[in-house]
Symmetry: C2
Subunit: 393 residues, 2 copies
């Protein structure tokens, strides 16, 4: 098995080159990556091991498992990370004085072990550097995400067909998960953050939309068990309620993030109004988010539109409100930038973001739309094409 | 919402008391927990926040999210961890000099942030302490796991009904996932280790059983995408192959781990023989594993039985062999002890372990059984009751 697939080797080389420039500009001598997301980003596949990148040399891939990869000049089978420095010396490469390690992606004991393997080096946090590089996607990555969006939309098209009267939200979610998986969804959501947990996404109906969750997702939901308090809670879905579906768009190592709303019977005008407000917010954001635009301005605009419509108390939750309306998305569900008032990020071409201005209407449920977008010179390109109107179940 | 449910408050107090004795015997002044697994263990639910435990005082629960919990003497709403020391002072509690933090469960930057909040304290790793305490289950935990085993077995009973000729392994897995979810499975596997990734378990058929994975699971499988190289690979299942099903048993914050094997048409005698060998290994282990028995002796016995049957080259994998035949299980899929030759653990009453002596037969697939057990004074009690014979699809 060749570690780097030929079809994407040029794309990966571009990613490595971008990382190298950043390493140099931050004054680091090298970085050593070990998190799954960054291993995947810098190799195009998953292995247990390390990727070592310097400004001057080709990237080195140290593979602990599986043992079946072809070794080559840049791919080395490794028993343990303590052996890396001697291998570097054998290759005539200097040992780093300033070494970047993923402080925000690896456990404390993993980092201290790597630090001990390089006793002469000062370790510095390179997690943010990688997040910033990964924020702007390459062409291959954009193609993967466009594909995700089409597949995700194709699955969403079939969700309403598996609804039956008097179904619980969990029963509905189970059929939705099946349709997603049959569409090719991998069924696993890779997230950033040590304490994020969810299975294949969230289906929330009625008052459960207002149950606050400990997790960093925009919407809550009590879940069916106190050990996993997020999403569907097992209640029967009733007429007069909305059902918000925000489920997994991961088909190929990348993912899109997409939410649509269905209703059972008729819902109050307030809910319909809030849903239209969400769409209006998206239309504004789609025009605003051009390269050079500050990310925070989207958040501020959303807050302003919701306030002007008199909907502030429902915006981004009711009992508990989320302080952001969107986030970067790609290998991980929650990448940079975070679309919040405190963001200092500025949009660049080929960034990918999910925008999800949502409202929780008490006794009705959640409304609003989430789309995933690519930042282009003329605004946002939506890659989750699916009707935005509230549809009937 | 009361943080500690009344029905389990006595059970949780027992857990806290056990932790306290350990804290004292290790000379720590306090521990501060933040990982989901340990928050769940010490409170019976999931919240974003911290649990502070000393040998002398009642446990304190600092809740960052959700905001809807009742505050009380021992439950405090917290904005950020930096405020914990001043709250302790207000309560007249001394600040710790030796503070246990979860070095193996939290990211480097999370630990250094907590260290900085307690500048007078020396931080020490308490991850192992918690793992050792959690290794021996309380009565409530055992009840949860017995329930998991019954539900998991009940779902397994229906798997063969959704098999169709010329199905791919992924299509079969999708129907299996649905049956599990309908049985009440939460669909999320909580693991230990920063780089473990899997959706609802693994269904591996034929030669895919021999595809090595980067993950720390006993069996591999190529997966359907290089971003998640584990389990089913999308191939059509053929006569003459085995299908090993090792899928999620998480119904209530705990989980059981269980594997059974099906076959399509007839399979070679070697595969049947290896499967019987797995059952013989389990029967031996079930007798041996009484309180006081060294965990490593089970591994050594398994290796010996496999060798005596001439099956060593297939044991625990063929192309890549796993160095363990079982593991503790509970809140996390992979708890202590690890049943390996290097284990220094000794069995105690009410430990729970999954034993999975498996074989990979080239061109046929994987065979063998996995059961979850409780350690009792007279040996192992199996809590995953389901026929062990290879069944036909």
């Amino acid at each position: 098995m060749k570690l780097i697939r030929e079809d994407i080797s040029a794309d990966i080389q571009k990613r490595i080159d971008t990382i190298r420039l950043k390493i140099k500009s931050e004054g680091l001598d090298a970085i050593l990556l070990a998190s799954n997301s960054n291993i995947f980003y810098t190799s195009g596949r998953l292995f247990r091991g390390y990727v070592y990148i310097t400004p001057e040399h080709p990237a080195l891939y140290f593979v602990v498992r599986p043992l079946s990869v072809d070794t080559s000049d840049d791919t080395i089978i490794l028993r343990k990370p303590e052996l890396i420095p001697s291998i570097l010396k054998e290759k005539g490469m200097p040992l780093p004085k300033r070494l970047g390690l993923e402080f925000d992606d690896l456990y404390y004991s993993e980092i201290t072990r790597l630090q001990a393997a390089f006793p002469e080096a000062t370790a510095e946090n390179c997690s943010h550097l990688l997040r910033k590089v990964r924020m702007v996607k390459t062409q291959w990555e954009l193609d993967c995400m466009r594909y995700d969006g089409l597949r995700q939309a194709s699955a969403y098209r079939r969700f309403s067909k598996c609804y039956r009267e008097d179904m619980t939200d969990v029963e509905f979610q189970i059929e939705i998960e099946r349709l997603l998986r049959l569409e090719g969804c991998l069924g696993y959501i890779r997230t950033s953050g040590s304490q994020m947990e969810i299975n294949m996404g969230s289906v929330i109906a009625g008052d459960n939309a207002d149950a606050p969750s400990p997790y960093d997702f925009t919407m809550g939901g009590a879940g069916v068990d106190p050990s996993l308090p997020v999403g569907a809670n097992g209640a029967i879905m009733h007429p007069g309620e909305t059902v918000m579906i925000d489920v997994c768009g991961a088909f190929n190592g990348y993912q899109t993030d997409m939410t649509r709303v269905w209703k059972i019977g008729e819902i109050p005008a307030l809910a319909e109004k809030a849903h239209e407000c969400s769409r209006n917010i998206l239309r504004e954001c789609e025009k605003m988010a051009v390269p050079g635009c500050r990310v925070a301005t989207l958040y501020d605009k959303a807050i302003e539109i919701a306030r002007n419509e008199g909907l502030s108390e429902y915006f981004m939750g009711h009992a508990q409100q989320a302080p952001f309306i969107g986030h970067g998305v790609g290998i991980q569900l929650n990448e940079l930038p975070v679309v919040t008032s405190r963001s200092r990020d500025v949009f660049e071409e080929n960034m990918t973001i999910a925008l999800e201005p949502k409202f929780v209407i008490p006794h009705v449920g959640a409304v609003g739309i989430e789309n995933t977008y690519i930042v282009t010179p003329t605004g946002l390109e939506c890659i989750t094409p699916f009707p935005e109107e509230i549809q009937s179940l």
